[in-house]
Amino acid sequence: MKKYIAYLLILVSAFSCTNYLQEKQVTNLTQAYYNTEDGLESLIKGLYVYLRVKYEWDSNGAKLIDCETDNQSTSGAFNALGMATVAGYGSNVSTIAANVANFIGGANSSYAPMGAYPEINNCNIALEQIDNVHPGKFATASFANERKAEVLFLRSYAYYLITNQMGAVPLLLKANRSDNGIYYYPKVGMDTIYRQIIGDLRWAFNQLPPTQSDRGRITKWACGHLLAKLYLNRAQGATFANSTDPYLKMLYKGTVSTDLDSCIYYATQVINGNQGNSGTYKGLATDYWTLFNPAVSETSPSPEVLLAAQFDVNTSLNGRFGDRYCNYMIGDYTNQTGVTRCMAYGRPFGTYKPTDWAYDNFTDKVNDSRYYKTFQYEYISNMPTLSSSTSYTWDAKAAAWWNANKPAGAASAVVGQKRILFGQRALTYVENSPNTALDSLTVMSQPYQLMARWVKSATTGKLYYRLWIDGTGIGLNTTHAAPYLSIKKFIDPQRGGSTSETNYNSEAGTRDIILMRLAETYLIRAEAYGRKGDYADALADINTVRYRAAYKKGESRPEICALWEPQAKSLSPAELTPPYTVPVDETAPMMATEANFTPGTPQAAAENYVPSATTEAQMFIQFIYNEKVREFLGEGLSWEDQHNAGILYERVIYHNQEASPLSNKWPVAANTYNGNGQDGNGKGQYKECYTFRVWPQAYLNLLTDPKGNPLSAAALAAYQNPGY
């Protein structure tokens, strides 16, 4: 028996060793990992995730950057239907506050917290590790400096984005690695922050290589581009130093007299350095569409692209949301069109839609190729079974008109049968004006849905705004679904990770999204020249961009341009015949001149400037931003740019009818509905205080004074931006 006891005692003691309770971090890494070379590299790679912030999720960055501008509105609660309402627009501060909360910093499921400040803190950790620990390759100064420059760029970019939204914010330059219960984070003025990030970027510019073997890593030129933009922003803000408008005055970021020259210097460095400022296209991609054509952009992106947020067809590399931007701008194209949701046309979230002004801002729809290269102007029916096709049917009136007027060889209409045939045009758009309204019977009698903005009754002469196929009104807060001419730049034929049609409902986009491209560098420099009064150099840069935008000899315009576009009247008969080939480069009519921003000229009138732009200098600024909207529609720049230029509020209320509180600024249609529809009045409640966003109350409530006590009511009020 003693033997057994001895065995048992051995067993007992075997389990009694003190190591038994040690937790091995098997699936788990701790910050100690950053003391190794691999760990520090992985931290820096992780910092790049932040570059996706504006394009991943509409509850984070995506809603803050493009909608609520002159050119796009959010369709709010009605998103699937594309009907914007007051509630969905501007007045809804609490929705914006939720977005802002995520933008400052928020939990992110099983991923690291998202937002600016987690990014900034992680950058600070990386900087301290590089400076103090410098493991492995980081011991080599050149390597360490290059990585440090990347980190400084990313931290500066985070400060750039967060100051755009919030103005003065806490400036944190040291890593925080533990919690002590004290949350004293006073705001720091934008002048201090800009001084810091401009300094950081100037240092980084000198460390970064012109090219990186890793696509998407920060290069010297991306850094120079951002630097030029920051100088321009500070110069813009300096003009409001003594503004009587309290919101504009908040845009002040310091006064440095050389800022415009610094802007020109760094922009020139980028323009000359990136590809060399030579050749016909001066470093720009030759065809605007190739920047967005997934067949090109995903395999061999143009060198025009200075920095792109990286996503991959391997969706597991795309984080929690992936590139959701591919869904947001697509209106519903499936309603009785014989078109079913598919990979080629994208998933119609309909979250953001262009304003009427955004369509009209393409003042030259026949020579400026960007119009048809930006929008999905037509859809082809893809529902093969005639019996199950969702096409609407011929009624007697339409069939009679069509049979009488149809082109030779076209199929006859039979009452009761489907109008839209498989493989044929199903849906198309015409963005015309009351003066160029189409005949209502013609519009309603086509073998496809012809969505014209303005139609006119031949019998009554009444003007109608946006009619549905059954004659009911759509858009502007009517109750009917309102499909719209959608931006196609981001449509992703590999959503969900492959081209398989079974992914037709996937939200997970896989395409890289351009953050900075050389065309913008040109327009940044152009603005700096213009602000100095040097319109010649400014126009040279603008025209570099417009030269590329023009249709070139041998390109074909779409058929629907020839068929329905009012401006197509200016084209020659040959150009109006299939295959609609462009006979000569249309670069000449695209060249901008001082007339475009000279008060009183027809060119200036065509630009539809806001009322306050009365001088050439003011009109020049507005022209630059009109051009930016044409060039970058949907690319996520307009809110920030117009905000920093101090022109956002006025452009929104004059150009965006759904946001505007103004009355009688738009043409009136016969088909108003219960006080809605096109009655000439703005539908929104946009306010100037939206220049800067609201600080979320939940954020404010967590702050403390230096002793750890919650902030007093007065301190809270002082922290909050004005107007909220």
């Binding site: 910050q31 790049y48 995730v49 925080n176 009785q336 609407y392 990770g497």
Partner: protein, 1101 residues
Amino acid sequence: MQKLKCMKTRKEAHRGWSSQILSLKMMWTFLLLFVISLASAQSFLVKGIVKDNQGLGLPGVSVRIQGENKGTLTDENGAYSLIVPSNKAVLLFTFMGMEPQRITVNNQHIINVTMSESAVALNEVVAIGYGRVKKSDVTGALSQVTEKVLQSKPVTNVLQAMQGQVSGVDISSNIKPGTVPSITVRGNRSLTASNSPLYVVDGIPLTAGSIGDIDPNDIASVEILKDASSTAIYGSRGANGVILITTKKGKKGTVSISYDGTVSFDNYHSLTKWMNAGQYLEANRIALMNAGQYGTEKYTNLDTPVQMGYPSPTIDIQKFALANDYYSQQNVLKGYSWVNNVIGGTVIMRNTTPQEQAMGWPAQVPQYNDANVQSYDWRAAALRQGITQNHQISLSAGTDNAHLYMSAAFLNQLGVQKDQNFNRYNMSINGDVTPVKWLTVGMSSYAALSIQNLGELNNSSNTGSKDLYSRACDQVPYMVPKDSLGNYIKNPGGNINIYNPLLDIAQAINQNRTEAANVSSFADVRFTPWLRYHLNFGAQFRENRYGAWTGSGYSGYLAAAKTATYNYSQNFSYVMENLLYFDKTFNKIHTLGATLMQSVQQSRAESSSLNAGSQIYDASMWYNIQANTLSTPPSYGTGFSQSQLMSYMGRVNYALMDRYLITATGRWDGASVLASGHQWSFFPSVAAAWKMQEEPFLRHVDWIRELKLRVGYGITGNAAVSPYTSSGPLSSNPYVFGSTPAMGYLPQQVPNSKLGWEQTAETDLGVDFSIFNDRISGSVDVYNENTSKLLMTKSLPPVTGFVSELENIGATNNRGIEINLTTVNLRTRNFTWTTNISWSTNKEKIVSLLNGKQDMLANRWFIGQPLQVYYDYKYVGIWQNTPADLAEMAKFNANGAKFHPGMIRVADLNGDYKIDGNDQKILGTNRPKWTGGITNTFGYKGFELSFFVYAKIGQMYYGGFPTYPGATTNMPTYILKDAWSWSNPSGKFPIMNIAEDPSYNQPQYAQAMAYNKGSFVVVRNISIAYSIPAKILTKYNIKKFQVFGQVLNPFIFGGDLVKRGINPDDNTGWDTASGTGMPIGGMNNNTILQQSFVCGVRASF
């Protein structure tokens, strides 16, 4: 004496218990006189045979001389012999599960006894933590569920059988085949961590296994340790109560083989009457007309009565979006009459009546008859006759030195929903041997294989339907599932967001396949009669494979087609315990017991997951995941976690004169998941009991069999910290450069080295009693438990770089009363009537949160309130078309509201004429005021009839607002009658109105009407069983043969809610809240009552 007993029982047959007291008193008086008269004191031998009421000898019965430590056991045939000191000696015959017998010797030399099964087994031994004690010596709050109770319910897992049987234990109802219901003991105390109790099977804590793997037929008893004085012995895991499961062991005697089999026929009984196609169209047309959206009505605005219009085929096509589905369109158009019967051709008009013309209708309108629109019964198409079969065969054998029990079981559950089923196969073997006097070794083990098919949908998110039935309820009755060629229509009704659930039955699978094995072994070494060493070693293994698949024809509901998921997890744990038991009585009055324990435990889990899309062929399911057109799986991963627990425990029991009992325990737990330096915690407890019946002043009060007061206090923990949380882990954040993966590792949480267990301190006061010859017995407990150091995620301002931190903050309190009562209402030779009642009430409240006494509105946590409350707008009524109401509405509408007659009115609590967050208040909680169960059992000869009624009273139930026009789902018929309209201003529900703003799927503030009183009483089962008499059976060498039949859930009673067609018993989903505190939603719209008819056989050979 035996004659007397017969006389006594005969008397009982004719009178109630009160008359029996009288007869007892007379008898005792008589006996007393008799004993005094024969006061001689000679010792002599008494012999006899103890039989059960079937006439078979009972082996192992304890025969003891009352008041002395002298006794014996009956042998295999039930025979015994014993030397008694005197005539006055009283023999006490006790046997587990039998009514004890006291017989005064009184000069008899042969005393034969017949024992009958007892309703209350006072002297039975019950399991406690790390040991077993006589039930009468228990000092803590403990409830037992016996084999008999477990067997009376045809269940697939043991928790279902326990529902309503034990006070203080709340077990939910869940209709998913193979899913273990959730259980809480004495309320919820933790806000973020688990509130589930610890399971201990044959002494080994169930860490890797699941209670659902155990065949309920293999369970001999279940003990629930409820108060901290009894659970503190489990230290850091004791706070949520401990459930001890003892499996069946071989019994000494001849080899016996038993067969238990049940077949259950299961059905869904819809409590709700659903609309047919005609009614659905009518409701929607009314709703459209009420908003001026249909077109044939005369509509001015929402404040003016609308003149109803007539149905029109062209408007129907537009408004019901019929253009996109040919078959729905044809079906709706059948409601109209068509020239030459060409549907969709030229519609036949009819002349309108003068009354109709007075309403503004034209001279002719389309002829319409909604009865011609065909209705498709989607729910019926999703359901079938469910059948559950359960078969078990077991063997029991035993000698003095060895015992063996073996069983094999098979469970097959064909779900009522066509896509759900469950299979389970169980094997178990238990045995022990005593090779030498001082040593016993044994092992018990079981293995289970289960396959659970959850069907096409495994949706646990807060939106969308949760299973096939609930998807079928969503379908509109005019839609049809198949086209004319017999092919399924993917999007019936043409709406791209409505997917055909029937199509998916064959196109989607969610399956769990689980293999589990549990082995525990022990060695028991008896050094001396008072010192014993016990070694326990247990190992558990459980692996689960979750496979999900969508076929090439899958509709696309919530997932893409052609996907495959393969998730695998493997859990292993072992426990080793060294125990030393000391038991000795000193000077006859001091009984001292001590238990010392040292244990180590390790839990290990690993997992892998693979998700792939674009699968090439359907038959591969998830078994050939590489057969896809993508080269890489879109997501994959593996996981691992391991934790260790090391413990020391000591317990001292002291009893003075078998009257005053004291138990004190202390446990030290060291856990690897806590940061070093903070790993060890101490959990003490102390309890005392006073067995008053042993006091001289009560000893001879014969009608009191037991009266015991108990008081206990203890501190327990809730081991809720997950491995690797205190170190501030990094998370993996993928990025990509070009197509080169760039995995970023970023800080996920801020490190917190001070993280520790949640702690519960509990005081329990109880009384156990058994009176009137056990006619009334039971227990009453009162308790108060304070839980502190609650794990909560504290939000950090994001400027810190982090957004949250896990900390020990917050406190909750639970207090309650529990009553268990068993009464023997009638007991005669042939007829018995017993009643079991369990009743409990618990009041749970939050004491403090993140910032002390400050509510956390975002989480819907309020100081002083239960852990779950409904916080929302308060329903006031329906806005009426009266001057007073119109004036009020105008004030709201001036602030941007859209109130009009017929809409829901909610309270404007702060009177600012704005309905916003400030007008929400606590409306109630889903925690019941009390719950109770009552089982009545009637026995007549071999027949036994019992019915069990379960009640849950005083809770609030969310989900009482019906589906309404505007949401594309079917609706209950009663809203046609009960909706407010201009002609029915007393309507209880709001106006049917497809609102201007289509983002409201339901009328504005509908949720305010969704909170209802959820009290209900359900007759859970009615059971009748017949045992064939032993006399007949013995001829065929059969020991026992019982047949039984049951009906499950025949009736439910409740308030308005039940009458309207909601089953508040089925609270699956409604009790969990989303991030904003709104309930997530029901599994199946909670409109059904699952009913079953069961028949079964139990036989022993």
